[in-house]
Symmetry: none
Subunit: 172 residues, 2 copies
DNA sequence: CAAAAGACCATGAAAAGGCATGAAATCCCT
DNA sequence: AGGGATTTCATGCCTTTTCATGGTCTTTTG
């Protein structure tokens, strides 16, 4: 199950699918929904997620360690490509990407009961307060402040957030 | 699990991921953040890092001993490649790289509590003063003077440095 | 002898782990 | 298919451990 190497990467055999709204306590502690943990563990058999700012939206992106390795390999491949193309060129682009992929993200293990402490920096970047909306998007998943999702999300996301909030008896 | 040789290197199974800002005391002592030590020890089970000047940026690069071995092997591979290509060509490039990879770097063990004394030459090359910003970049990690990061870094890095400084109650 | 390097202890803050609870979802058996 | 029993989850609370960092004291070395 590890890394068969036969074409398909294990990371993409299981996809993040679904959504959930969970509470964040005063110390920034929160449960990773079970459906996410299932995929994380089948993909990488590590009880940890990697969290970082989303590239374009006011939320966080997250994935498992196997996917992080995948990103690393892609980065290295691209570097070699650029090196051979642009003369002996600068690797500036490479370093920038690597820094973004690994410096701005954090590896966060979860405990046996499936909880993490959202790192303060991520909490701030994602503007996560006392609720976290998890949204599967296939290869990765997103973590939203549900109120921001209502405000800045596309129509589908807004509807999703509204539903999950109502479900909890919250109607802002 | 050491170095199976069958494709995947152990060095790349665990990646440096995250960031931290630590103090450098009057004696030049500083703690290697726990998340770095974890990866270092899983990769090479040695309590030491290898530090050198960064290829393009005003900071230091560092990694574990296993990764140093990896660089050596890569270098040799590349030498053979260039030799067979450019006629019996000069090995100038090879020697230059080897000197850079091993001559300009230093192997620095850390004590049981996880602290090193930054070698004076590195301290000077990286212009490290009383704060050190560690930034994971996958295969390796960087050590910045956070003020230089603010000044010369790309946007992401600047933001990172600013956040880590604020977090400590420092706003330059 | 002086200065630097290294080992050892001390401490406060933060994080990790464990235990308990209530609610919801699932299973299972008639 | 129903309905009770069981398991899984999310979540609050409390305890233990880890970490970063400062200080002191010893050892080494020029």
């Amino acid at each position: 199950m590890r890394e068969g190497g036969r074409g398909k990467a294990v990371e993409l055999e299981h996809l993040f699918n679904g959504s959930a709204l969970n509470a964040v306590d005063a110390k920034g502690r929160l449960s990773i929904p079970a459906f996410i943990r299932g995929v994380v563990e089948r993909r990488s058999d590590a009880r940890a997620i990697v969290v970082g700012p989303h590239e374009t939206d006011p939320c966080l992106t997250a994935y498992d360690r196997g996917y992080a390795r995948h990103l690393h390999i892609e980065n290295e491949r691209r570097r070699l490509l650029e090196e051979s193309q642009a003369g002996s060129g600068d690797n500036v682009g490479h370093f920038r990407r690597a820094r973004r992929t690994f410096g701005l993200t954090e590896d966060v293990p979860y405990d046996p009961s499936g909880r993490i402490i959202m790192p303060p920096m991520m909490r701030r970047k994602g503007r996560i307060e006392d609720l976290a909306l998890f949204v599967g998007v296939g290869g990765t998943f997103e973590i939203w402040n549900p109120l921001l999702a209502l405000e800045h999300g596309d129509e589908d996301l807004r509807e999703l957030a509204a539903f999950r909030l109502e479900e909890r008896g919250l109607r802002p």
